[in-house]
């Protein structure tokens, strides 16, 4: 019993999980159809957010207030680029992925150079990058009129195994990968050390610059892949399609128990955080709440979860 209690104290995302369950039940009861289908369709939506949230989680974990604000720019631009390259043809999917990953790796690399060598605070550097990417998207948009999605991508997005969407499985696999990365590899441990105390990490022999570089590159690449999937789902690329994602990724990882000051990341928490954010919107739509009320609930919950986290710290003392 005590063990369970201390586990809950350390993993504040349990509250979000309980919240998600209640929301799902409430939605099911109010609509008269209690079943997994509503949960799964919500999870499918949350999956796209989760891919980016993993990237944001890594950047935030690197510490000293780092947040990647270039996520909307990367997502939107990659949506345009991938749509343009694929143009509805199955054969172009692989080249599109290669192109997107290469471009995103370059973007992340430049972000990390600005942070490490120009010593520009991460939020300013990535914000500047976001402006540049937004412009690029604007320019492409002028000559853009593609509304066809490659059949394979379409099939992938609609495809299910045992009633569960492929995209959900993909995200769970990614989750397992990052869980492994953070716990069982040199990179993960170095990143967590860096986020806790850069000075100590560097004296312990951590190659801080290399670790930070990989972190920003991973974040951009993940966002780029999310960009391909989101555009395929929406059926096109639209300006501003990524705008809400910065704040949503930060919110979901904070709800999930990742420390905003760095050094602690929580992979299952991030997944639950994303699901929870999605369910709030869905539940409030079901009971007919306005966009405004959804926002208020979202904001209040972020602060509430944060408070639960600090209660835990105080009692630990």
């Amino acid at each position: 019993m005590n063990k369970a209690l201390s586990y809950i104290k350390e993993n504040t995302w349990i509250w979000a999980l309980i919240g998600s369950t209640i929301l799902w039940l409430a939605m099911g009861i109010s609509s008269g159809q209690l079943g997994f289908s509503s949960l799964i369709s919500n999870a499918n939506t949350a999956a796209f957010l989760a891919i980016m949230a993993f990237g944001q989680m890594l950047v935030v974990t690197s510490g000293r207030g780092a947040i990647d604000l270039s996520i909307p720019g990367v997502l939107t631009l990659m949506a345009f680029i991938s749509m343009s390259i694929i143009n509805g043809k199955n054969s172009m999917i692989v080249p599109a992925f290669i192109a997107v990953i290469a471009i995103c790796a370059a973007i992340g690399f430049i972000n990390s150079l600005m942070v490490i060598y120009l010593q520009i605070p991460a939020i300013i550097a990535t914000m500047a990058m976001n402006y540049i990417l937004t412009t690029a998207a604007l320019l492409i948009n002028k000559h853009f009129s593609i509304f066809t999605v490659a059949p394979v991508l379409k099939a992938f997005l609609k495809g299910k195994i045992f009633g569960i969407y492929f995209s959900i499985i993909l995200v769970i696999l990614l989750g397992v990968f990052f869980w492994f990365l953070l716990r069982k590899t040199s990179y993960g441990k170095s990143l967590l050390a860096l986020g806790q105390n850069k000075n100590a990490a560097s004296l312990a022999g951590v190659k801080t610059a290399r670790v930070e570089m990989v972190t920003y590159i991973l974040c951009s690449v993940l966002t780029g892949i999310a960009g391909i999937l989101v555009s395929a789902r929406v059926g096109s690329a639209v300006l501003g399609m990524g705008d809400t994602y910065t704040m949503d990724t930060v919110a979901s990882i904070v709800i999930g128990g990742t420390l905003i000051s760095g050094g602690r990341a929580n992979v299952p928490g991030t997944l639950v955080g994303c699901l929870f954010l999605g369910l709030i919107s869905a539940a409030m739509q079901v009971i007919g709440c306005s966009v405004g009320a959804q926002n208020i609930a979202k904001g209040a919950l972020i602060i509430l979860v944060l408070m639960l986290g600090t209660f835990q710290k105080k009692s630990a003392k």
């Binding site: 976001n130 402006y131 690029a136 000075n199 990490a201 022999g205 050094g263 944060l306």
Partner: protein, 809 residues
Amino acid sequence: MENNKCFIEAKDILKIYGPTIAVNHLDITINKGEVLALVGGNGAGKSTITKILSGVINCDSGSITIDGEAIDTNKYSTADARKKGIFVVHQELSLCKNLTVYENFYVEQYQQFYKSHNWRKTAKELAKKALDNVFPGNTIDVNAGLNTLTIAQQQMVEIARATSTPDLKMLVLDEPTSSLPTEETNQLQEYIKKTAANGIAYVYISHRLKEIMYLADRVFIMQNGSKKHECLISETNEQDMVERMGSGIGSQNKKLEFNTPALNEKVSIKMDNYSSKSLKNISAQMYGGEIICLTGLEGNGQLEFIQEIFYKARKRNKNGLEINGKVAYVAGDRKKDGNFPLWSIKDNTIISNLANSLLFKPLNTKNVNDLVNRWNGRLKTKCNSTDESIMSLSGGNQQKVLIARAMAVDADIIILDDPTRGVDVETKLELYEVFHEAAENGKLIIWRTSDDAELEYCTRLFVMTRGTIGAEFEHGKYEHSDILKVAFENQEKKDLKKALEKKAKQPKLYLFALITTIILYTICGILSPTVLSKRGVELLAVGYAPFIFCALSQTFIIGLGHIDLSVGAFMGLVNVVTATILDHNTAFGIFVLIVLLAAYSLMGLFIYWRNVPPIIVTLGMSFVWTGIAYNLQDMPGGHVPEWMVNLFNFKNPVLNGILIWLIICIIASILIYRSKYGTALRGYGNNETAMKNSGWSKAKAYFMIYFIAGCFAMMGGFAQSGITGASDVNASSTYTMLTVAAVIIGGGYFSGGVVTHFGSVCGAISLTMVSILLGLLKVNTDFTATVQGLVLIIILSIRLIKKGEKANE
């Protein structure tokens, strides 16, 4: 009569830090009008006892009587000490670096200013008088920013500030002359002699024995937290003091069994006349199998020596330093340089191994467990399981984990940075054994120590003075006083000629932003002369205004070291309220606006109360503000009351309304920061501890900052309404991050309270000017964002280069 002479009497003072007895049943008295010199080796407990006497820390047991009045030692605080007239000049300066000299006088001596009408004038006079009193003929400009002063000048300011207290009874000076040049040192001594004659008591801590011989009335020699000797200055001399400080240390351990390990020539460090920023002409050769201690008085290059070796070992270009072998570093300041507090013992042990392997190679769990268990077992780390948090261990056991970390990585060269600080005797002995065993296995150990007793465990020792090796001794071939002699004798010769030279003039923070603004404006003017006309400026202002108000608000928040992610959303909400509720019912509208402002201010209190990251609180609140706004109005539109539109567009022959409001608000924000309380708020952005110690309330400061920021954000919302006559929730949502950029472009930093409102305004204008310029150049407006981003990167890069030059001086 005898009792009247005594100012402070402390009896049987005991202070224990974990396993270390810092002050061991010490009795000390300080008389009125007396200069008491407190001397002793490193870690003798001098600083601890002065901290106890001045209320910085409380003792575990003992009694203190001040001026014949017994003190409750459990509740004795710095504020109480101040009331009693006890002030301290600490080694680490407690000044606010973002304030000017006279403002620093104000924030500490604010009680003197309650009745003054022109506090700046009074503070300047006070500062000037105090500085001239102690350091006649000094060239310190009381109007200068503290960060433009040299360390020596800052030290002078701190000393002068303490002496300016009207009811000063006792002043503790902790190494006051360590960074002062000769003339200023003499001036300080004359001042102390003069004022001591008037009845002020002084406690003078110094390693410079000549100064003490000249200045002190009485000498109090400490060792290991106890009194070693106490006598009148006439009864002692330099030689005598050195011997008394030293004797007793070496003799206890002299009989230690010590086999010098064989040298392992494969592992070596060679330095040939090596110099760096803080090291001078070091020549030394070190080999595996040696245990080399670095000793000397603190701050003579020992730390720089070991860090140089560690960091150079990882670089390809070693500047002539030859290092053969893998280097590991064991930090002694566990909290600052060693522990990863969120981690278990296991993770803390193994991190160096992981850091040295390929980035994406999976861990070999069995291997990890083996290493962790072997080394923590060898070091006898006391824990139930290596999965426990490192923070659950005592200091000594934490240290063992850090040593296990260096051992597990199997380094050839192990650097020890004073690893036994705050470690109990038994553990210390265990550690010595481990070090010795490592040397026997052919490892080279370089050991910085502040505990002279440890010198017995090395094969060779270097006495560092002023960044170089002052003397080198083989094990057993020296007397302890030889070391002290070398360590102490060169201290007075420190080259401090340059200490008072003026630093190169630094550009004002807002300079880059101002230049950028002027350039952009001029180019716009050349392309389209209307921009330069009054009409042009007015039109521009209409475009700028809400953004600039918002930037002013953000400046206050960043000045406190926070970031407000909700300011744009808050402005949007205010805009919506004016176009909906206020339009329907003026009184209720005003009430709602006041409630909103209160709610915004409470964010500050909430951050203080829960001690939560401001960035998340404001992120959460940004959703809340937007949510409320959407509930009031989900589509852009609404109607702003006529009177509010007129407020910003009132007809007058001079300027248009919006520009007038803008100028008023910019001046107001600058004035707020220059006001008495504003000065304290700025101080809070730089040095919270110093401000709290001076008696300023933190809760109030946080609340006020958010209140003021809220007022300006609200003004931004009003301006938005006044200009557009309608409302849109999202009109100002992009401002949040843009204002952060504007503040940083304007010369601000995220920490240290370094921001200027003028700079932020320039930053905001240059960001918006970009779009106008591009429009005039007929460049597609799509490029606006890109150019804004590039301007941001370029300005911050230039600033880095400028900063780099400064650091090299």
